[in-house]
């Protein structure tokens, strides 16, 4: 089987970000934090693009993986799922890489960020990593994806066995696993772990989490100051730049901007009509449209319990590896992807009340078993407190699943339902 190389998707992301930055310069309402955000994306993907030329060691890793360790060792991280959805977000489609993924034998039911990723590696449209790091923190797709990427790119890999529960014994086990991973990376990259640097990064990650909490508090204001799909910026920063100075600068700038807006009573949309809770990711290829329909109807996502709603707890730079392990249980997503219990349901109810939501949108990604398995449970939980939920069947990167017209029609029906109540 031969798969012809197509284009360089990383270059496409960088070009799109540069273009957005250029366009933003003409917008009087463009935020400084927005500029920082796109600069961060350009820097992240440029570093990846030039990694071969610069002799860098690229460590690809799956979602929620503790990238703090990669940064502390001076390696170049490559967040695999985010790379795929950013290809969709910035280039508008993923047909070529999804097709290439299908040529590898991956069925259409397989999660598209993973299927597309395999296709992107197979077609050489994203750079090969020097090592693959993956874990069982999310789903079976993630766990298998790591093995597949190793096979395609012929790179070595390390599987981080993340314990399901969070007890003292399991925490110790996770710390030892992280230690093994550090040894693996040292052996493969020839670089030593800089423990002082890891401590600095952990201190910044702790600050980052604090800033996220402060930003979330500001988002509770009526009208809410952050733009309708702003949470994508927050999760991207956490996924791509954990504990990095760039993330702190972005979050501090954003916090100041949002504080100003709250002080002035300014909202992100002209007339805020619907305050929404979002579950999971909207279709990336429709983000421009999602933003414009949100503005048109005055609908804003004000809270995302499993993306931005950080739980309690602090990190201790004096115990960097333990802190990295602890963070993996503190991330908002782990309320759902970990051992799901009342914490997940309680957080939904807490968020609904704190953020005064009118309704919730559940982006039911057809390729995600985990996401779709929760629909009824979350919907019933919100229904008990009289919050309507729209289940929007879609795919995060594949535009053939749901068209813009279908999404528009369903959103319009939902907004009408909210208004008519």
């Amino acid at each position: 089987m031969t798969i012809a190389p197509v284009k360089n998707n990383i270059q496409s992301i960088i070009r799109a970000c540069r273009l957005i930055m250029k366009m933003n310069k003409t917008r009087p309402d463009a935020r400084k934090s927005e500029e920082l955000y796109y600069e961060m994306l350009i820097k992240y993907f440029t570093r990846l693009l030039n990694s071969r030329k610069n002799g860098d060691f690229v460590a690809a890793h799956t979602v929620f993986f503790p990238a703090e360790i990669i940064y502390a060792m001076g390696l170049v991280p490559m967040h695999t799922e985010t790379t795929t959805w950013m290809i969709s977000l910035f280039t508008g489609e993923c047909a070529d890489i999804l097709e290439a993924g299908a040529s590898l034998g991956l069925a259409s039911e397989i999660c598209t960020p993973h299927r597309g990723l395999a296709g992107a590696f197979a077609t050489g449209t994203i750079p090969y990593p020097d090592a693959m790091l993956w874990s069982n923190m999310v789903c079976d797709n993630t766990a298998k994806s790591g093995e597949l990427i190793m096979k395609i790119t012929k790179c070595p890999g390390f599987f981080l066995d993340h314990p399901f529960k969070n007890t003292e014994h399991e925490m110790k086990y996770l710390v030892s696993e992280l230690g093994d991973m550090v040894s693996f990376l040292e052996a493969e990259s020839g670089r030593k772990m800089d423990w002082d640097k890891l401590a600095e990064i952990v201190a910044r990650t702790d600050r980052q989490i604090q800033l996220m909490r402060e930003i979330n508090e500001l988002r509770q204001a009526v009208p809410t100051p952050f733009h309708p799909q702003g949470f994508l910026e927050l999760i991207s920063v956490d996924y791509l730049y954990p504990g990095q100075p760039e993330a702190i600068e972005y979050l501090e700038t954003l916090r100041e901007e949002l504080s100003d807006m709250v002080r002035q009573g300014k909202g992100a949309v002209q007339t805020e009509r619907f305050r929404l809770m979002s579950f999971f990711l909207p279709p990336m290829y429709l983000m421009g449209f999602m933003e414009s329909i949100s503005q048109e109807y005055g609908a804003v996502s004000v809270t995302e319990p499993f993306f931005t709603y950080w739980g309690e707890g602090r990190l201790d730079p004096g115990k960097p590896l333990e802190s990295v392990a602890r963070k993996s249980y503190m991330i908002p997503e782990m309320r759902m992807y970990g051992p799901m219990d009342e914490r997940a349901l309680d957080s939904i109810v807490e968020c609904a009340k704190q953020y005064k939501i009118d309704g919730a949108i559940y982006y039911a990604d057809v390729g995600c078993r985990h996401t779709c398995a929760m629909i009824k449970l979350f919907k019933d939980t919100l229904s008990n407190i009289d919050v309507p939920v729209l289940t929007l069947d879609c795919d995060v990167v594949d535009p053939t699943i749901t068209s813009r017209e279908e999404v528009r029609e369903k959103l319009e029906r939902f907004f009408e339902l909210l208004e008519d109540r």
Binding site: K376, S383, P388, V389, T391, D393, E406, K410, E412, R413, E416, L417, D420, R421
Partner: protein, 263 residues
Amino acid sequence: MKALGIDIGSLTTKVVILDNGTTLSATVTPSGENAELATREATQQALDEAGLSFDDDLYIVSTGAGGKSISFNRQQRAITTCLARGAFYLHSTTRMLIDMGAESSTIVKINERGRVSDWATHDKCAAGTGLFLQQMAKLMQIPMTEMTELSLKAKAKADISSTCAVFAESEVISHVHRDPPTPKEDIVAGINYSVVSRIKALCKRVGIARDVLVTGGVALNGGLIDILEKELGFSVSVPETPQIVAALGAAILARENIEKGKQ
């Protein structure tokens, strides 16, 4: 001012004209390729029946698949909102509406004020829709109107896949050509059952609630309604003209707007 509701479906266009709570006319006509023209003609027919004309003072609310494609309406509303209003107007105890149209099926959960509290739509596959039934009737060379009688006479039901309209067609063909062939009645009952199983799954998605009103052209298939009642375990209501409920709801919304003085 007269309140006029138009539901522009993929197969038929329904028009209802209300005046002070009285239905002046309710028509069902085929939808045309040119939505604007066909809907204008359908509206003209309804106006003629009511003894009115386009020159009269009308408040028009449109809905349905083609609801956005006409220029002479004052407002366009979601089909779910219109179905809920129409159903609540007919039976105020309705808490769940099952609308089975030509190309899609919609379940609407209705609260005690007649407002939509949730809904689910089956619109990804023809299985479970009116067009699927039409196609099956054509395949079996029986008129649609006979499906009720045949289904009610069935002694058993043939197994027909409920997952895909295309595969279901092959299954029906194999039942027809079996030696001995599966009785026609049983095949029709099997077809109806496959639609009902889809609908029931959709109902469960939003949570089954009584009373249930069944609307849309498929509701005219008594055999299917009989199976639906057996599957749900209770009786459902079917209005006299089940196709017009969304148009009726649109007319009610038009009347509400007139009362509120909305333009």
